[in-house]
Symmetry: C2
Subunit: 252 residues, 2 copies
Amino acid sequence: MRAAQRNGEDVAGLTATRLTALLTAFRPGDDMLGVSELSRRTGVPKSSVHRLVGHLVAQGLLDRENGAVRLGLKLFEIGQLATQQRGLVDAARPYLADLREATRNTVHLAVLEGTEVVYLDIVRGPDAPNLPSRIGGRFPAHATAVGKAILAFSPDSVLEKVIATGLPRIGPRTITAPGLLRRSLAKVRADGLAHDREESRVGVVCVASPLLDGDGRPRAGISISGWSNRVRPGRVAPAVRTTALTLSRTLS
Amino acid sequence: MRAAQRNGEDVAGLTATRLTALLTAFRPGDDMLGVSELSRRTGVPKSSVHRLVGHLVAQGLLDRENGAVRLGLKLFEIGQLATQQRGLVDAARPYLADLREATRNTVHLAVLEGTEVVYLDIVRGPDAPNLPSRIGGRFPAHATAVGKAILAFSPDSVLEKVIATGLPRIGPRTITAPGLLRRSLAKVRADGLAHDREESRVGVVCVASPLLDGDGRPRAGISISGWSNRVRPGRVAPAVRTTALTLSRTLS
């Protein structure tokens, strides 16, 4: 009896792991994926993929069409709740629209997850370059202004984890030396503003500021991104900082 | 051996069902939920909830804080892919912004799921009432212009399913008689436009048009919502219809 129960728990754990692997196997640009491709991406045997996909389709988490599957709309509904419960995106939306209107450049709202930022919202401006960032997408935190704005106000352990990733070069001027990153973040902490000139991407400049809760902990960051030869960081910085301060107060 | 395998499959199916039940147990306005509340909402025994929540936290689908859990950011990332793979939201965004700017009212982008619409995007206008709709939220299709715009171009079986739900009254003038709904949809089919005057909500008027694919099947709908005593449907209708036609062409 105990052995059977143990076995049941093992199966449940394995199933949970495999279901998550299937849901996270999809990438931007994918549409329908077949059983073989899902098996290849997840390492789950084809017969198990086939069976688990059947369960996920029955639950509405995947949609089936001509034998292949894609992510179901129910995942979009659940995913929206995941951020709406944090109250951040809804509260930030009108402020981001104002910032975009005032600067005519692209506004990002992002949170830190591990060593990367995840974009919660993006409002594209008419004067900005066509950046490849997407809502729900990720970017290495050390290589972008909005990531540095959050990192500067995060516990030391967070920065140490980022440094342990090796600080890969992303743009032509990405900070790849731990000492330089620490000094850069000390300045961000003093100013409440982070800058990035071609650290994330050639030809692009960003200015960011953190959204802090009542205890000074960073909940998120906002940034403006534009062409490095058109945007003067000194001119947009006060707008970014003001919006971040207002929004921080509104949220807490 | 076969019995053990059968048992394993049963456990996997049950686990898939329960994991989905846990992920869909969260509602707008919830933040952290405890094991007891999750058990109450899903009907899954507490000990199983405890174990499955552990798996979901380990996989990043739920976040744990002080013994309670909330939906994890990974679900937001997966959920974004679910719609981005459909290409619809990204393609529609600038058009919705134009429509909002031209009409100063609130623009919705929605798809039909079963008998309800799900809002994929909402751009709120300065002149519009503060509607309770939210991105990822649902609304009965028969009671709103955007739902009727999609229904009018859907197969008969879809409409029959909607009628079988009993056409509940949502706003003061919701169409609750099957015959009236059929006649209303015939007009929508002829015009490419759907209207809703206080069918969804007191004091609110909506004008909608469907996004059709190359074969004339409805992929989604767009609508304008505003105060019924301020918006003249005849004035915004051409803008809604033009945007829907342009976007339909862009998508196919």
